[in-house]
């Protein structure tokens, strides 16, 4: 019944958008949907006995467990803030004719549909069903990228669709393998995650390795892991910032979520010994590629996008370590990364509005006098940057610290390499901030830039997100601790 509530809300929102005439009405519908979604998710958190697996009786297509619920809570929260942010941001896109008024309705309809698809993906028990919803999120989010009437956006969206969909085909081949494994091991084939978890120990290792590797290709492409990351910087940099925040904070989690789920199954078989080094290797390569690409990067949104790749790589490394402690902190890192990265893209969006005349998609950012024009966005980038590189009071510090600490048990050498790479990535962000934000117009010259009046709807989400990341870092609630421990138990890493 809960899923029906989600679906009905989304349909109602889309109908409202179809009927409404002004941007404000459409945006209100999107905000309304996001708030209702978050309310339902919070209601499940407090009043429903999780895990639930009886939505469509007897079929076992959907279920709600703690991991899915955590992801949905993070996703809906970011969607609420992104929808609020979109009010000012998309309004300005319209005013500057970067977004045509005709495609506004399509934009918000796709937005609402995307949120529904993401929630359904996180609540899928059947892996094939999850695959379909993940694939749908690719298509819909590519639409959101391509909606700006610029040639580069279309190219970025096409690249995203082709890289992600082609990789996802491999994931489907992997799912067929998995189905065949269960058929020969259990008699009747199944792709239900709960059934897979229950019988994983009887799976033959060779086939399981093959199945996992195929599935990994698909979900790695969804989450921007090297070598399938090529779509990510362009897509994230060229999408409207409200969409970038969702892409980076929510959609990348879909891929990592899939990897965690499938790895939880594989972890119980003998195949884990072969799979772990693969995960570790791809994780380290992702961090390395991201860190090296970040160093010379002069475009703020691309820099933030590469930092996403780095964080995804670190999560993959944490998953490869696969101790209960590591998995726990990987999940915290998922939360920390999603919240921080959304705030960074929000801040970058404000700067993008301010300096848009100078900002073509690939050109280096030509910013000056940031503190005079956009002090909040500038501080948003600085504090968000500190948070994402893992400076102490923020939440990401603890997750990164403990992932690295548990990596030490695997191999100190790998730890050293990862540490150096993370340091490079952090210094790249620091270098960008120092070299760009310090620029001012010389005293004699006049500055002809008109300050962009940032509406409150664009400022508030940044402040809320940064405050939340800081508060969670200072005192992580005991309930949250128990909740994530429960997830680790359910994934059977403990």
């Amino acid at each position: 019944m809960i899923l029906v509530a989600f679906a009905v809300t989304a349909i109602a929102a889309i109908v409202l958008i179809a009927l409404s005439r002004t941007h404000r009405q459409m945006n209100a519908a999107a905000i309304g949907q996001a708030i209702v979604f978050m309310a339902i998710a919070t209601w499940i958190l407090f009043f429903v006995q999780v895990p639930v697996d009886t939505f469509i009786v007897g079929s076992g297509y959907f279920f709600i467990d703690h991991l899915g619920l955590l992801e949905v809570l993070v996703a809906t929260f970011i969607f609420v803030l992104a929808a609020v942010y979109a009010q000012g941001y998309v309004g300005n896109l319209l005013a500057s004719h970067e977004l045509e008024a005709g495609s506004l309705r399509l934009f918000y309809a796709a937005w609402c549909l995307l949120e529904l698809m993401i929630v359904l993906a996180f609540f899928s028990d059947n892996l094939a069903l999850f695959w379909i919803f993940a694939e749908l999120t690719t298509v819909i989010s590519a639409m959101l990228i391509a909606i700006l009437s610029a040639r580069e956006n279309i190219d970025a969206a096409l690249k995203y669709i082709f890289v992600a969909s082609v990789a996802m085909i491999f994931a489907f081949v992997g799912l067929i393998f998995l189905f065949e494994i269960t058929r020969s091991a259990l008699g009747a084939g199944t792709l239900n995650w709960t059934a897979l978890m229950a019988h994983a120990s009887s799976f033959p290792p060779e086939m399981t390795v093959a199945a996992f590797l195929f599935i990994f290709i698909g979900f790695a492409a969804k989450s921007g892991i090297f070598p399938f990351h090529t779509w990510l910087p362009e897509a994230h940099a060229k999408a409207p910032s409200a969409v970038s925040a969702v892409l980076s904070g929510v959609l990348l989690n879909v891929g990592i979520y899939g990897i965690i789920r499938v790895f939880a199954v594989v972890h119980q078989t003998a195949a884990a010994a072969i799979v772990t080094p693969v995960l570790l290797l791809f994780g380290i390569f992702s961090i390395a590629i991201a860190a090296i690409s970040m160093l010379p990067e002069k475009n703020l949104k691309k820099l933030i996008a590469f930092s996403s790749i780095e964080n995804m790589g670190l999560m993959l490394v944490g998953i490869a370590v696969a101790t209960p402690l590591a998995i726990f902190w990987v999940l915290v890192q998922v939360i920390a990364h999603a919240l921080t990265k959304a705030s960074l893209f929000f801040s970058a969006g404000i700067l993008h509005r301010q300096y848009r005349s100078h900002l073509s998609a690939d050109a280096p950012d030509d910013m000056y006098d940031v503190f005079r024009f956009q002090p909040l966005a500038a501080w948003g980038i600085i504090l968000g940057g500190l948070a994402i590189i893992g400076m102490p009071p923020f939440l990401a510090f603890f997750s990164k610290f403990f992932i690295l600490l548990s990596l030490d048990s695997l191999s100190p050498w790998v730890l050293a390499i990862v540490l150096v790479l993370i340091f490079i990535a952090a210094s790249a962000i620091g270098f960008f901030v120092i070299s760009t934000f310090g620029r001012t117009t010389p005293p004699g010259e006049t500055c002809d830039l008109v300050p962009y009046r940032t509406p409150l709807s664009m400022k508030a989400p940044i402040v809320i997100l940064l405050a939340l990341v800081l508060a969670l870092g200072l005192m992580f609630p005991a309930g949250g601790y128990a909740f994530i421990t429960q997830i680790v138990m359910e994934l059977r890493f403990a």
Partner: protein
């Protein structure tokens, strides 16, 4: 009537058809025949599903054959052909990294590699040399060959056909590798996904090629002018 040897022969002939069509998709420059060949490949797949259905007496396989016929032989090729007519691009002569000959050689090598790998992986479930093993090998080869098309061609529409041919490979692999009571549940949705995918690419992506096309004409015209003026 279900004589195993006869069935064996028929399916093998259809396999050859599938391979020939995919070789054609890799090498051809003519976009219109590309779509027709894709339809032909889907038809061969449908025939395989049909003969399997007849051999195993399975209603699900029959349903898959019908779905394939409706979507992949008729609707999607028709859709693409309509769009092609609109944007008036007849040929895709730009091969990114690979020339037709080398891509043929690479796909040959791919098939051999897949044969060897699969005979290791599937050794405990399927007898090597059986029809089902061949089906799995050709299915995965088709996936990889489709991927080659997707990444080595420049036009969005050729990439779409590469993707569709990959999807055909998955269907073939699914038909033979496992007993698929489940595929029917998802094939419908997968086809839907592809349709949605197509529509986005077509509303969005084809515009981009159209723009490129106009740009090039424009540039060509300008260039000619410059030639004449001095």
């Amino acid at each position: 009537m279900s004589d195993p040897a006869f069935f064996d022969g028929i399916v093998k002939i259809l396999f050859v058809c599938v391979i020939v069509t995919s070789a054609y998709i890799i090498t051809t420059k003519n976009l219109i025949s590309l779509v027709r060949v894709y339809a032909l490949q889907s038809l061969a797949l449908m025939a395989i599903a049909l003969s399997l259905a007849w051999y195993e007496n399975s209603a699900i396989l029959l349903a898959i054959a019908i779905l394939t016929l409706v979507f992949k032989v008729i609707l999607i090729p028709y859709f693409i052909a309509t769009v092609q007519e609109k944007i008036r691009i007849k040929r895709d002569i730009e091969f990114h990294f690979l020339s037709p000959t080398s891509s043929l050689l690479i796909s040959l090598a791919l098939m051999i590699v897949i044969y060897i790998t699969l005979s290791h992986v599937l050794s405990d479930t399927l007898a090597k040399g059986s029809l089902f093993f061949f089906g799995a090998v050709i299915g995965i080869s088709l996936v990889l060959m489709g991927m080659m098309v997707t990444f080595s061609r420049k036009r969005a529409i050729t990439k779409v056909l590469g993707y569709l041919s990959m999807e055909n490979g998955v269907l073939l692999f699914g038909l033979f590798a496992t007993e698929l009571p489940f595929i029917i549940e998802f094939l419908i949705v997968i086809d839907l996904v592809i349709l949605i995918l197509l529509t986005t690419i077509l509303t969005v992506g084809i515009d981009s090629t159209l723009e490129e096309y106009h740009n090039r004409l424009h540039r060509f015209y300008l260039w000619e002018e410059q030639e004449e003026s001095p």
